[in-house]
Symmetry: C2
Subunit: 225 residues, 2 copies
């Protein structure tokens, strides 16, 4: 019955990677359902979220059990407490994909507003950030994690751009208001997904280097912020 | 130099309560700056967020140190891992108040759209939820925590109501679009603050009773969801 601590940690990593792949898939599907106006796919995203939610509970339990029974220190301790946080971030990414899918269900009841180009691009960025942040976590790569944090600015810029463009649509033609607001919300959900990936990146840097890069503290110390 | 574990836990509680009171204050001030159109107050909210951010780092360090040096089990372990999560929630509540203050700075450049009634009401609810969720945490009161989670629905309903009302403004008069969208975003920030309070409430129930109420699992078991 006795298992090695290393094996338990490996299991935990695999659970989080699995969860991340489900979260990534939910982003891709949610945005595909929006672009291709596929009701069933949007409903699938909403249904599938339960799997991520159950994994969240499982990962929490594993972490607590490891902390209680293994009483880890140093690296292992930081790994497990990071896993606890990353777990919440992944769960919320799943929720945000559900929010996008819910917007899709509203949007496909109405005529197409415009061909969507920036939103799928934003989704691609956000999905890659989630993927890379998890890779940085399991492979202990702080440089990749820092890179993820930097990419957050691009997503924010795309979000601003989408926001501005949709404002002009609404102002020119009030009939587009409901649809435009829905698309603004989709862009914000994607921006928040990128924020969660950034949180994960920050946690990875802290886990590996013991350094806090949250809140631009590195920049502040260097006096550039 | 040696301190008692109980004292260290008491310190941790006090830090989190202090952080929560700063977070609550930031919500109140952000919404007051919006309602009274006070630029300085909005700027104050943005400036003051640094204090919450520093506390977040401090609380994280305290939790990690306690886990490493005290190797807590059972109740104490659950208390500390809950503190880690609540810490993130409080920090994000601070960020959301900053987002509201940023919207205020945009909104006060433009004429008043309408007297704000529902947004301050929503803010009051959200602030009370934050307060009660932290009280439930430090006093180990799962019933109060459950009550917080239930109140989330009221905030969601107010958010929907505000959203619908502002849509009608935009449709009637496209000149109000920018301001209406800003107010829709403020309402969403408040809704997310309430979501974070709900997360804290769920963590408290788990901490005290070992029961997961996230994702309506209790309801599912009872077959009502």
């Amino acid at each position: 019955m006795e298992r090695h601590f290393d094996e338990e940690l490996k299991d935990l990593k695999e659970k989080l990677l699995h969860m991340a792949s489900l979260a990534e898939e939910s982003i891709v599907k949610a945005v595909k359902s929006l672009v291709d106006r596929e009701k069933e796919l949007a409903e699938d995203v909403i249904q599938s979220d339960a799997a991520i939610n159950f994994l969240e509970i499982e990962v929490d339990e594993i972490c607590l059990k490891l902390l209680a029974t293994r009483q880890p220190i140093a690296n292992d301790l930081r790994f497990i407490t990071s896993a606890l946080k990353i777990n919440s971030d992944l769960e919320r990414i799943g929720d945000l994909s559900v929010n996008i899918a819910e917007r899709t269900l509203e949007l496909i009841k109405q005529p197409i507003l415009k061909p969507l180009l920036d939103i799928p691009r934003m989704a691609q960025y956000a999905q890659k950030m989630v993927k890379d942040s998890l890779d940085a976590f399991v492979n202990r790569e702080p440089n990749l994690a820092r890179d993820v944090c930097r990419r957050d600015d691009e997503v924010d810029m795309l979000n601003d751009q989408i926001f501005r463009e949709l404002l002009t649509y609404m102002i020119e033609n009030p009939k587009t208001i409901t649809r435009s607001v829905d698309l603004i919300l989709v862009a914000r959900h994607l921006e928040r997904i990128a924020d969660h990936a950034t949180n994960i990146g920050e946690d990875v840097v802290f886990m590996v280097e013991g350094k806090t890069i949250k809140h631009h503290i590195e920049d502040q110390v260097r006096g550039t912020d």
